[in-house]
Symmetry: C2
Subunit: 405 residues, 2 copies
């Protein structure tokens, strides 16, 4: 067999490099491929022939890679559009040049769509190139995953910040509200996970239209009853019209997704303007949550790594293409357990799995016990990090190194 | 000897309960006082007779207390004004009622002023009541401390978030700036500490007037030279006129300090409006940094605890009053070492120790090696936290419990 290529796409996570490490280590344990190349800045860099040879990372480097946050290969928002044969041909040209048989693509639903499109196109054109997807996303919104690597670590950090800032908030007697904002454009998984702590009074998720008057009524009620109101809002919180709460600040990224932020600040203004309390505290948890290598969930890093391993192992079968490795829950004797499966990339692509509305309590009151039971196993365990000078040691990203090929 | 009372004031920190634990444990090791009472919500609660008996916390409870963020007794912004004899007499009345000889007050410079005023007043009026200060503040701005408990843990979290979000930022190719905002109203210690990581391109501290044109010139230069610009701004960043960058959002708290936030958002707007880049990412690290029990510095938690112990031990001397326990650096054989001292509270009160201007590089370029050498030892070491269900275990705050006396 020839070589393989692995690339990362979309927003980074705290464990996305765990999956990368799994592919690299997999090939060290069973050298199915001559070399493991990394694509610099995802498909965008690959199309420009920017590769890095990852084959010979040492065991220690692989350990450090697993605790390095963000995409160590760099990422991109460039989308290989269906029907863009020029890009497809250019990709095959690069793969041919480096004798690459298989591309492992680590990403979210857009990337899984790319895996699907490329494999269909290659088969139709009689090309032996293969494409395998490895899912990741802090948004946890991939169908048909039980949960997505990256999400549990973001949730663990979000829960820790929720609990710590709730204690900070509770230390005061003055009348104010606290509003924590989390990432989550179309799905409220990360915001909802904060409820595991038992510290959240009110929650605003994208799945439930935001009704200003009804919400303010609940804030007033909490203040009247308990003298405090701790609120968590997803960045994707929106009115029934579909307009984001934070619409004022929205601009667009390359995928025509609104770039959000500011729901919490808007909510604070709304509550203060309504005269419920004279002030509010805002904490925004955007990039800090998804790159929280200092708060990795042990479950998450193990699963991200094993997804990479599993993808590498399964790809030894020359018929394996257009597939994505998934995770499903398979509890055993009442204990959390996950099992890995492969399914066509089309099943993962371009769907959004929202937080189930049947898990949402009415009147912004939080989530059901079933939802808490879903989240709790995911945030368990703390990996033993390797520290250097007081901080978790990290690898210099490959996209910031001179080429080694 | 009678009993003692310990209370917390001002903004919480990640290790403020370490000092509380030191006083409680000190009295278990050497029962100088019959009971150790906690004052609920600082002086405000004490004046209302709200106390909690802390004498018999178990060893395990004390371990958990040390990793519980925020003020476990609750805090207040109420200031015992000099000359407010009504408050002073009420305080003595409560102390008499509970047979309390000594009040340990854990707080910042306002609280140290209270310790000074109370001890002077008590001595003048021939009262045997004594007052001892234990410093804390994430702002690190107390004179004559080498550093203030709470600051190192906030700095450790800020450094971890800086490094993780820098890697996240570096994964992209698109032209944008990153702006991290830290706490620090009048002193830029926390913002400056982020430079220890080597990840900060430009920094805006309260100590150096913000010149919009000069700053934008530097942003443009970094973008031209490297294609990226990672900025850290202190919430207290201000123009030469003294006006805060974020002035639009300012309201006032009980001490007439402006309540800040929003410097980073303002900077992003300024940079985008200037046409340097089309977008920017903002991460605000306000409450999450100061309550970061999941990122305590081992140096910090040890020192906070020992300050409490030292205060308790020294207070066994019946002449010990109006004193604050301080920390000075006393490196040994080139290794970091701190020693404890006692000094009159007046030396700690109402001064602000700004980040030294001789440690600041020109043109917003960061800090000197001397400054980095100052910070680095403070963020070393990670305490072994006790986890429960995936989160560091915490005590139920005493201000949220029914009274036990």
């Amino acid at each position: 067999m020839g070589n393989c290529l692995v690339a990362q796409s979309g927003g980074p996570t705290a464990v996305i490099n765990g999956s990368l490490a799994g592919v690299i280590r997999g090939n060290q344990l069973n050298p199915v491929y001559g070399k493991v190349y990394g694509g610099i800045h995802g498909i965008e860099g690959v199309l420009n022939g920017r590769l890095y040879d990852l084959s010979d990372l040492s065991g220690r480097e692989i350990d450090i890679l697993k605790q390095t946050p963000s995409s160590a290969l760099g990422t991109c928002r460039y989308k290989l559009s269906r029907g863009n044969d020029a890009d497809y041909l250019r990709l095959v040209e690069v793969m041919d040049k480096f004798d690459i048989d298989v591309l492992f693509y680590i990403g979210g639903n857009d990337s899984m769509d790319t895996v699907d499109a490329l494999s269909v196109w290659a088969q139709k054109n009689g090309l032996k190139k293969r494409f395998v997807g490895i899912p990741k996303t802090v948004d946890n919104d991939l169908v048909p995953m039980d949960h997505c690597p990256g999400f549990p670590s973001a949730a663990k950090l979000a829960c820790q910040v929720t609990h710590a800032t709730r204690l900070d908030y509770d230390a005061y007697t003055r009348p104010e509200v606290f509003v924590l904002e989390t990432m989550g454009r179309d799905a409220g998984w990360l915001a909802a996970s904060c409820c595991v702590t038992g510290d959240v009074d009110l929650i605003i998720l994208p799945e439930v239209p935001y009704d200003k008057d009804a919400f303010l009524h609940q804030v007033q009620k909490k203040m009247d009853e308990t003298g405090s109101c701790y609120i968590v809002a997803s960045e994707g919180a929106r009115f029934a019209s579909g307009e984001y709460i934070s619409a004022g600040d929205a601009v667009n990224d390359g995928f025509s997704h609104a770039v959000l932020g500011g729901a919490a600040i808007t909510l604070r203004h709304t509550i203060v303007d309504a005269g419920i309390v004279p002030r509010g505290v805002v904490q925004d948890l955007s990039r800090a949550a998804r790159s929280s290598n200092f708060c990795q969930s042990a479950v998450d890093i193990a699963e991200a790594y094993e997804l990479g391993l599993s993808a590498h192992m399964r790809s030894a079968d020359p018929r394996f293409t257009g597939q994505v490795i998934g995770l499903r829950r398979a509890d055993k004797d009442g204990e959390y357990n996950a099992e890995y499966f492969a399914a066509p990339a089309s099943e993962f692509a371009n769907h959004v799995r929202q937080f189930p509305t049947e898990w949402i309590l009415p009147d912004y009151q939080g989530i059901t016990q079933e939802a808490i039971d879903y989240f709790r196993p995911l945030i368990q365990g703390e990996p033993k990090l390797i520290y250097k000078d007081g901080l978790p040691e990290t690898l210099v990203p490959f996209n910031r190194r001179p080429s080694n090929i």
